[in-house]
C-alpha cells in the first residue's frame, strides 16, 4: 500500500495497518527478567533521532523515508519530546478556539452539507511536519522474532516507514499505536522513518484546553513476539455474596504457535496460591468462574492487589513467555436510589483533573513526575483522578492501581471549538455530533481506551471525552463500553447540552462548575448520581468556598463529590534574559495568537510541582470523607 497525504483531510481514515488495540500487559522471557523489570523482548528506541522540521507539507522532504535519501543535513532531536520545545515551532496555548483561528478558514468535513475539503490539512499552511529518522540494529535477543513497533503517543497524525516501505498510518495522539514490522525488519541497519503532521481531521477532536504541541512525545519501543505470545489479556474479577467472595474470569488471546500449555496462577500478597491451572494452548484460553472465598477487596485505603502470573510453555515444557499482572477485586454499582457504591459502601470522590504536564518537557512527562504526583495525592487526601482529556501514559494506570487512586479514564476527545462560540452554544458545525463520517473515528478512540486499559482495577469510570456536545456518535461510544464492560460506569458531561441523549449517554449526571446552590437543587430530585467532573477552578489565588460543596456530601448521598480543576498549572520554564532568571511563562508569552493567556494556570500545584497555598484547604476538606 502507498501512503496518501490526503488521509489527513478525511475523518474516515484514522488508522491504516495499525494493529488492533490490546491490553497493556508486560511480557518477559523468565522470572529473572520480571524481577529486574527488564524484558529482553523489548527494545527501546528512545534517544537521539535524526530530525527535519518543515513549516508546511509542501516544503517537507517527501522522499526522506527512502534508503537512498541523504539525511546528512538533518538535525537531531530527543525522542520522546515536543517539537515546539526544541525550538522548531512556536508554542501556542489556546483553550476553545482552534489554533488556526483568524489564520485559516476551516469547518469540519461533512458539516454544513459539505464534504471533504481537499487539501484542508494536507496543504494546510499551518500544518508543520516533523520528519524523524532512526537507524537501529535489532538487539540480538530480538533477532529472529516477529517484531512490532509501539508508539505510545504521537501528536497528531503519523506515517511510519521502515527501510523504504510504508508501514502504516495512525491518529489518536494519546493511545498506543502498534504496527507489524516483521516483513521488512533486518537484524542490522534498519531505517525507521516517521512523518509527523501537526494537523489532520483529528485536530477537530483534539481541541483540549492546553498548549498545542506536536511530535513523538511518548516512548517508542520495539516488541519481539515469542513463538507463542499473549496478544490480549481480558480479566474480569467480580465480587459476589454480599461483597465477601471473588469470582475470576479471564480470556487470553494468543498468537503464534498454539502447541504447548498455559499455566495460570493467582497469588495473594503473602505468596499463597489461590489458583493454579494448567490448560492446553489455544488461540483463546478461558478461565471461567473461579471463585475465591473471602477475598481481600481493593479500595483507596487498602489497594490490595492479587498477583496473576501467566506462564506460556512450549510442548517441551519450556517457558517461552511470562506475563505478570496485578489486579484487585472491587465492585462499583448504582443503587436504585441513585447512590454510587464501591464494595457496598458509598463512594466519595475527592478528585482532581490532571493534565500530563512538566514545566520543561510539556506533555512528555517522566516517571519521576508521575511518582511525585501520586505522593502529592496521598499526602493531600486526593483519592481520584480524571485523566483530562485523553488517556495518559501507561505507567500512570499501574501507579493508580497500586496506590488506590480511583480513575475516571477519559477518551481523547474534546471539540468545544465546534460548538462553543463566544460563550454561546452554536452547534451547527459540531463534530462528532451524529454525522456518520465522524462515527468510526470516535468509536475507535473509545475502543482503544477500553482495550488498552481494561484490566486496571483503578478505573471505575470510562469517560467519553470532554465538552464535545452530544449526538448519536457519542452515544455509540457509550454503547461500546456498555457492550464490553458491565463492571464500570460511564461518564459524560457534554450531554447536559443535548438532554435528549441522557438515556443513552452517561450513568452519572455530570456537571462542571455548577454552583453549590444549583447542585443542591438537582440533588433534591436526582435522576442519576451527581458528580462535578470539574469544580473549584483553581486559577491563581482561588479555592475559596470549598466547604459549600463538601457540605453537600453530608447532606445528599446522591452527591459523589467531584474533581477539582485542576492538578497542575500548565506553564513553561524559560530563561528570561532581562532578569537573568528561569521563569514560568504562559499563553501569549511566545507571541502566540490567538491565545488564552494565563487561563492555563488553574492548578493546585504550580507548574514546577510545588503546591499552591490552597493545597492545605484541599487536604483538610478531602480529609473529612477519606
Amino acid at each position: 500500500m502507498k501512503a496518501n497525504i490526503k488521509w489527513l483531510d478525511d475523518p474516515e481514515v484514522f488508522r491504516i495497518n495499525q494493529l488492533p488495540a490490546h491490553s497493556d500487559h508486560p511480557f518477559y522471557k523468565d522470572y529473572r527478567e520480571w524481577q529486574n523489570h527488564s524484558s529482553s523482548f523489548k527494545q527501546s528506541l528512545n534517544g537521539a533521532w535524526q530530525f527535519h522540521f518543515s513549516k508546511d507539507p509542501q516544503s517537507r522532504p517527501i522522499d526522506f523515508y527512502k534508503r537512498s535519501f541523504d539525511s546528512s543535513s538533518f538535525d537531531t532531536i530527543p525522542v520522546p519530546s515536543e517539537i515546539e520545545l526544541n525550538g522548531y515551532a512556536q508554542n501556542q496555548y489556546t483553550n476553545i478556539l482552534y489554533p488556526w483561528e483568524s489564520k485559516i478558514y476551516r469547518k469540519p468535513a461533512y458539516t454544513l452539507g459539505r464534504g471533504i475539503k481537499d487539501g484542508d490539512f494536507s496543504q494546510g499552511k499551518d500544518n508543520t511536519v516533523g520528519s524523524y529518522l532512526k537507524h537501529f540494529d535489532l538487539n540480538p535477543a530480538l533477532a529472529g522474532h516477529d517484531i512490532h513497533i509501539q508508539f505510545e503517543g504521537v501528536e497528531r497524525a503519523m506515517y511510519v516507514y521502515l527501510n523504504g516501505h510504508f508501514i502504516g498510518y495512525a491518529e489518536d495522539s494519546f493511545t498506543p499505536s502498534e504496527f507489524d514490522l516483521t516483513p521488512y525488519i533486518q537484524a542490522k541497519d534498519n531505517i525507521l522513518a516517521v512523518e509527523v503532521f501537526k494537523h489532520s481531521t483529528a485536530s477537530w477532536l483534539e481541541d483540549q484546553d492546553m498548549f498545542r504541541f506536536s511530535g513523538i512525545f511518548r516512548s517508542v519501543d520495539l516488541l519481539a513476539l515469542p513463538r507463542t505470545h499473549l496478544m490480549d489479556l481480558d480479566i474480569k474479577p467480580t465480587v459476589v455474596n454480599d461483597y465477601h467472595d471473588g469470582v475470576f474470569n479471564a480470556k487470553l488471546h494468543f498468537m503464534g504457535k498454539t502447541s504447548g500449555n498455559v499455566h495460570v496462577l493467582i497469588e495473594d500478597i503473602d505468596g499463597k496460591t489461590l489458583l493454579n491451572k494448567k490448560l492446553p494452548l489455544k488461540s483463546t484460553v478461558e478461565i471461567e468462574n473461579e471463585t475465591f472465598a473471602n477475598v481481600h477487596l481493593w479500595d483507596n485505603h487498602d489497594p490490595y492487589l492479587y498477583q496473576l502470573i501467566i506462564e506460556v510453555h512450549d510442548q517441551d515444557g519450556k517457558l517461552v513467555e511470562l506475563i505478570p499482572y496485578q489486579f484487585g477485586f472491587r465492585k462499583i454499582e448504582i443503587t436504585k436510589d441513585h447512590v454510587v457504591l464501591l464494595n457496598g459502601k458509598r463512594l466519595i470522590i475527592n478528585g482532581v483533573n490532571r493534565h500530563e504536564w512538566d514545566a520543561k518537557r510539556g506533555r512528555s512527562i517522566t516517571l519521576a513526575d508521575m511518582k511525585q504526583d501520586i505522593a502529592t495525592f496521598k499526602h493531600n487526601n486526593i483519592n481520584a483522578v480524571r485523566t483530562c482529556h485523553y488517556p495518559n501514559q501507561i505507567p500512570w494506570y499501574y501507579l493508580c492501581d497500586q496506590n488506590g487512586i480511583y480513575m475516571m479514564a477519559e477518551n481523547n476527545l474534546e471539540s468545544h471549538g465546534t460548538w462553543q462560540k463566544l460563550g454561546q452554544v452554536e452547534a451547527t458545525s459540531n463534530v462528532p455530533g451524529s454525522i456518520p463520517e465522524w462515527r468510526e473515528v470516535v468509536v475507535d478512540r473509545a475502543r482503544s481506551n477500553y482495550e488498552t486499559f481494561k484490566n486496571h482495577t483503578a478505573i471505575l469510570f470510562w469517560s467519553l471525552g470532554n465538552e464535545s456536545y452530544a449526538g448519536s456518535n457519542i452515544a455509540a461510544m457509550n454503547k461500546l463500553y456498555k457492550d464490553h464492560d458491565s463492571s464500570r460506569l460511564t461518564h459524560y458531561e457534554g450531554v447536559f447540552h443535548a438532554p435528549e441523549f441522557k438515556k443513552e449517554i452517561s450513568d452519572l449526571e455530570s456537571c462542571m462548575y455548577l454552583p453549590p446552590k444549583e447542585a443542591e437543587e438537582y440533588l433534591q430530585n436526582p435522576k442519576k448520581p451527581l458528580v462535578e467532573c470539574e469544580y473549584m477552578h483553581d486559577m491563581g489565588n482561588s479555592d475559596g468556598g470549598m466547604g459549600s460543596y463538601i457540605k453537600l456530601i453530608d447532606k445528599y448521598p446522591q452527591y459523589m463529590g467531584g474533581f477539582i480543576w485542576d492538578f497542575i498549572d500548565q506553564a513553561l520554564l524559560v530563561h528570561d534574559p532581562v532578569s537573568g532568571q528561569d521563569v514560568l511563562r504562559y499563553g501569549g508569552d511566545f507571541d502566540d495568537r490567538h491565545s488564552d493567556y494565563e487561563f492555563s494556570g488553574d492548578g493546585l500545584m504550580f507548574a514546577d510541582r510545588t503546591p499552591k497555598p490552597a493545597m492545605q484547604e484541599v487536604r483538610y476538606y478531602y480529609g473529612l470523607h477519606k
Binding site: 468556598g545 470549598m546 532581562v578 497555598p613
Partner: protein
C-alpha cells in the same frame, strides 16, 4: 516620688512629637499621618501609613468583573485625602492643632500619660465616605491604632479595608501566631493554628501576580529587619511587634503594594524587592473559586461597603 509621666510631648511647628525612653513618634500635620515610628533608634516608616482599599486583582476577581465594579477603590487606595486632625493629650482635647501661636505656651518639658491623635480621611469615591484612624499612645509607649470605616449607601463593592505601612527596607523575616499558610475568609478551614517563622518576604508565585500572602486571625506578629536607610546606622537585627487588641487581626507582609502587583503580568516584572509593605486588614474579601469567568465570591465573604467596619491593634 516616682516619676511616672513617661511621654515627652513636643508641640512642634508642623507636627507633634511623642517620645520616650526607647521610642520617638512623629505625627505630621502636613502629611496627615504618622511620619515617624522610631523604636530603639530604628525607623519603621518610609511614608505615612494610609488606609488601604485595593487588593491586586485575582484571576477570579477579573473573571467575575469585580475589578471593574470596584475600580473606584483603586484610586481611593493610591491617593489619600486627609481632611481633619485632632490631638488630645491626657484629658485635654485641643480644639485646634497645637501649632503656633497655641504652642508658644509650651516648653521642652511637657509630659503626659496618654496621647491621642486622630486623622480623618475622605475617600476619593462617589459617593465619598470617611475613615478615621486614631493613634493612642499610653504611658509605656505602646501605640494602639484603631481604624474606623464609615459605611455609606451607594458605594461600590470593596476589595479590602485595612491600613498600609510601608517600611524603609525589606524585612529579613517575620514570626506570627495565627494560621498556617496563606488564608482568606473562605479558605482557612484547612489552616492549623500555631506560631510560624517565615524567611524573607515571599510573594506567592501565581502566574499573574495578584493578591497574595494574607494571614487571617493573627494574635501577634513580629517583623525583623536587619537594614536601615540611616547612613550612620550599624546594621543588626531589630524587630517590631504587633499584637491584637480585643480581636485577632489579619495581615500580609510583602515587598510590594497592591498597585505594584497589579501592574505586573509576570512575577519577574515586579520591581526589585527593597521595602516591606505591611497591610493590617480589618475586613478581607474571600477569594472565591466556583469558576474564574463569572461566579462571584460567595455572598457571606463579601465586604459590605454600606456597613461601618472597625479594627484595632497595638504596635510596639
Amino acid at each position: 516620688m516616682a516619676y511616672t509621666n513617661n511621654l515627652h510631648v513636643v508641640y512642634g511647628e508642623a507636627s507633634l512629637g511623642v517620645n520616650g525612653q526607647d521610642f520617638a513618634y512623629l505625627f505630621s500635620y502636613e502629611r496627615g499621618g504618622l511620619e515617624s515610628l522610631k523604636i530603639k533608634d530604628k525607623e519603621w516608616l518610609y511614608r505615612t501609613p494610609t488606609p488601604t482599599f485595593w487588593r491586586a486583582t485575582t484571576d477570579n476577581d477579573r473573571g467575575s468583573g469585580f475589578n471593574q465594579k470596584a475600580a473606584q477603590w483603586l484610586g481611593a487606595d493610591m491617593f489619600t485625602k486627609c481632611v481633619g486632625i485632632r490631638v488630645q493629650v491626657d484629658d485635654h482635647p485641643f480644639d485646634e492643632l497645637p501649632v503656633a501661636p497655641i504652642n508658644n505656651q509650651f516648653s521642652n518639658q511637657e509630659f503626659a500619660h496618654e496621647v491621642k491623635v486622630a486623622f480623618d480621611y475622605e475617600t476619593l469615591t462617589t459617593p465619598a465616605t470617611k475613615v478615621k484612624i486614631i493613634y493612642n499612645i499610653n504611658d509605656a509607649g505602646h501605640m494602639t491604632i484603631t481604624m474606623h470605616y464609615f459605611g455609606k449607601k451607594g458605594l461600590p463593592p470593596l476589595p479590602v479595608i485595612g491600613m498600609r505601612f510601608i517600611m524603609p527596607t525589606k524585612a529579613k523575616s517575620f514570626d506570627y501566631t495565627g494560621l498556617s499558610g496563606e488564608t482568606y475568609p473562605d479558605r482557612m478551614a484547612g489552616a492549623e493554628r500555631g506560631t510560624f517563622h517565615i524567611d524573607g518576604l515571599p510573594v506567592t508565585k501565581y502566574l499573574v501576580p495578584q493578591e497574595n500572602g494574607m494571614h487571617m486571625q493573627t494574635n501577634e506578629l513580629v517583623i525583623t529587619r536587619n537594614s536601615t536607610q540611616n547612613n550612620a546606622d550599624k546594621d543588626g537585627d531589630f524587630s517590631l511587634k504587633i499584637t491584637q487588641t480585643k480581636q485577632p487581626f489579619n495581615f500580609s507582609l510583602l515587598p510590594y503594594t497592591a498597585e505594584e502587583l497589579e501592574n505586573a503580568t509576570h512575577i519577574e516584572e515586579l520591581p526589585l524587592a527593597r521595602r516591606s509593605v505591611l497591610v493590617i486588614a480589618g475586613a478581607v474579601r474571600g477569594v472565591g473559586g466556583i469558576d474564574s469567568w463569572g461566579s462571584d465570591v460567595e455572598e457571606q465573604y463579601h465586604i459590605d461597603p454600606e456597613q461601618d467596619h472597625e479594627f484595632s491593634f497595638t504596635l510596639n
